[in-house]
């Protein structure tokens, strides 16, 4: 079966006065139907810009300079804004971190859902209301019919995020890109949303890209992980395998530095140094300056190399199990 989404060699650069920021610099992955993939990385790793690039939402001075994004076989890079608009929301949609900024405070939730429906073809008011109500029920909003008449400020943070998810699902898209959708929420609400998302992905067959800095959150949802560092995917593979036996030294460091990995009160394993500035990346492997296994070979840039179900971009990866 051909993948729903296929990203090859994607490069998104920002041409600023200070220089070229290579926010995404060679990202490739495939997403199968109904699959949930986690995109993990720290601030500045390029995970959010990757998500935005998939929908063609990168604003100047940012630009996709190279690569291909194929959605259901159609190339999205280089497509006209008009054609992109026809696909956004219908074939691929996005859920953002901050639901307050996503929803328009001036319109009721029902009006906004109806506008989203009308933007891809005419629909009667009654049909729009029925579909909206169906979606609100699906994402777990109590008394959905009454809530259609409510304004965004009348919802709590968790409920607002549910509304945003319902809107993203309105047109049964093949892919949803979710950018840190639970980061602003409390843990008990986050657990509710994670449980809902997992059920929805299974029921609707929608593929999901879940962008997050939190390994634990991603690992509880995604069956496959892609770990990003300095604009590149450094490791990719089945979640359980990566967590149990990370191969890239960065992934190893990231997992080892979690407090849950150490005895209470014992020092945590730390990755030395800080994430590099994307303006002045060293040539070769971007992780080399912080890497315990770096050698002279790391002055060249490692390529993401596939070995069975796993891929790693490192000259000295740990052996797989």
């Amino acid at each position: 079966m051909s993948p729903v989404l296929e990203v090859t060699g994607l490069r998104t650069h920002f041409h600023t006065r200070a220089g070229v920021v290579k926010a995404v610099d060679g990202v490739s992955f495939k997403l199968e139907q109904g699959e949930i993939m986690g995109l993990v990385g720290e601030s500045g790793s390029g995970k959010t810009v990757t998500g935005f690039s998939l929908l063609g939402l990168v604003d100047p001075p940012g630009r996709i300079v190279e690569g291909s994004v194929r959605l259901n076989g159609t190339e999205l890079v280089g497509m006209s804004e008009r054609d992109l608009r026809r696909r956004r929301g219908r074939e691929i949609s996005m859920v953002f971190q901050d639901p307050i900024a996503t929803l328009n405070p001036m319109f009721t939730v029902g009006q906004q859902m109806r506008m989203a429906l009308e933007s891809h073809g005419s629909i009667s008011g009654r049909a729009a209301a029925a579909r909206s109500e169906e979606l609100l029920t699906m994402v777990g909003i109590p008394s959905p019919r009454a809530r259609l008449r409510a304004y965004p400020h009348e919802f709590s943070g968790g409920m607002r995020q549910r509304v945003a998810i319902a809107i993203a699902l309105l047109h049964r898209p093949s892919v949803i890109v979710a950018d840190e959708p639970t980061t602003a929420l409390d843990v008990s609400i986050q657990a509710q949303i994670l449980a809902t998302m997992r059920t929805l992905a299974t029921e609707t067959g929608t593929s999901l890209i879940w962008i997050s800095h939190d390994l634990a959150v991603v690992s509880s949802l995604a069956t496959r992980l892609a770990v990003m560092y300095a604009g590149r995917v450094v490791e990719e593979g089945p979640t359980a395998d990566i967590l149990r036996r990370p191969r890239h030294p960065y992934t190893q460091g990231l997992i080892a530095s979690l407090p849950a990995m150490a005895e209470p009160g014992a020092p945590l394993t730390q990755i030395p140094g800080t994430t590099p500035s994307l303006l002045s990346l060293p040539p070769g492997c971007p992780f080399a300056p912080r890497c315990p296994r770096a050698t002279a070979a790391c002055a060249a840039e490692p390529v993401l190399t596939r070995d069975g179900t796993r891929a790693v971009a490192c000259f000295h990866p740990a052996e797989p199990a």
Binding site: D186, V187, A195, S219, L254, P259, G265, I271
Partner: protein, 335 residues
């Protein structure tokens, strides 16, 4: 030996109404006139050299309690004692022995003040050092928190988030406090930086013998750094005890659900983790439910929970819980 005593502390916030709002409220308009009970009747003690974790979700009152302990906010009722002496008397702060580290190192440092000056300001004002010796004094603390002392002449925007949090810690410790209150000190940092700051905190706490109150919503961090923890819900402590005891066998239904909601890295299972989310949401602090505040979301709630507030009572030697059925829950007999 008890160092910090929090004795029946409550703190409420009444809305400041303008004349217009008061008139509108009198005429029946929808103006919020009720006070928010941010912290209600909290009593807890921390022995010298120990760390108490305060955990809970947004709006549970953990940050307000932290501010009351530090003396930033006076309590509405109750007292906070340090070594037997009150932190506040008659609204005046009497001690500099409490210092605080805040969540956002971008907001807690003055952008127009060199970081070295920011660290020196307090100690000079309180006579811990002189203006002439301030530079060396600051350099010593910079080295202590793992920063190059030569960076003291820079401004906050020239530092990364992790470095800023180190500066904030240096500023707090330069006051030579006995009690350090950390309000979500690592919440805004990346995972790899978070580990560096936690390690720094563990080192400094040990070397300086600090007593700490560590406020966090991240339960794995709390488990790592705290000897005891208090779980708060809508302004009340619902469970308090030795960290490992609470984690391994929570007695309060809220603690149980909270721990079950935390996504964990599971390394030995091929299947994804199953969540058991808590039903519903935290009620408005303007009108908390009567009886036990957790009763509308509690799977074990009975009639008594809807009418009678459960007191925080000792269960075992090192644990307290505010639940009518805590013993049954611990014994696995609750329904």
């Amino acid at each position: 030996m008890t160092y910090l005593t929090i004795d029946h502390v409550s703190r409420h916030f009444a809305p400041h109404l303008t004349l217009g709002e008061k008139i509108a409220a009198r005429l029946g308009a929808d103006v919020e006139t009720r006070a928010v009970q941010a912290v209600t009747d909290v009593s807890v003690t921390v022995p010298r050299g120990r760390t108490l974790g305060l955990v809970g979700e947004s709006g549970c009152g953990k940050s307000t309690l932290g501010r009351v302990i530090s003396g930033i906010l006076p309590p509405s009722t109750g007292t906070v004692l340090l070594d037997g002496k009150p932190v506040m008397t008659g609204g005046n702060k009497t001690t500099t022995r409490v210092q605080m580290v805040f969540q956002d190192p971008f907001a807690s440092l003055d952008p127009r003040m060199k970081v070295g000056e920011a660290v020196a300001e307090g100690p000079v004002a309180h006579g811990l050092t002189t203006r002439a010796k301030a530079r060396d004094y600051v350099a010593g603390w910079f080295a202590r928190v793992g920063l190059d002392p030569a960076l003291a002449d820079r401004y906050p925007h020239q530092f990364s988030g992790g470095q800023r949090q180190r500066i904030a810690i240096a500023r707090a410790l330069a006051m030579q406090p006995d009690l350090l209150i950390c309000d979500e000190p690592v919440a805004s940092l990346d995972v790899s930086i978070q580990a560096q700051i936690i390690n720094l905190f563990l080192d400094l706490r040990r070397d300086l013998g600090l007593t700490c109150v560590f406020i966090s919503h991240d339960l794995s961090v709390v488990r790592h750094v705290c000897d005891r923890m208090a779980v708060m819900y809508l302004g009340r402590i619902v469970e308090e005890g030795a960290t490992e005891t609470v984690f391994n066998d929570p007695a309060h239904p809220y603690t149980r659900s909270l721990l079950a909601s935390v996504p964990e890295l599971v390394l030995d299972a091929d299947d994804l983790v199953q969540f058991v989310p808590i039903e519903g949401e935290v009620p408005s602090p303007h009108a908390p439910p009567p009886g036990c505040h957790f009763n509308p979301r509690c799977p074990f709630a009975k009639d008594i929970c809807r009418t009678e507030k459960p007191p925080l009572k000792p269960l075992t030697a090192d644990r307290f819980a505010a639940c009518h059925f805590a013993e049954e829950i611990l014994a696995g007999a609750a329904t």
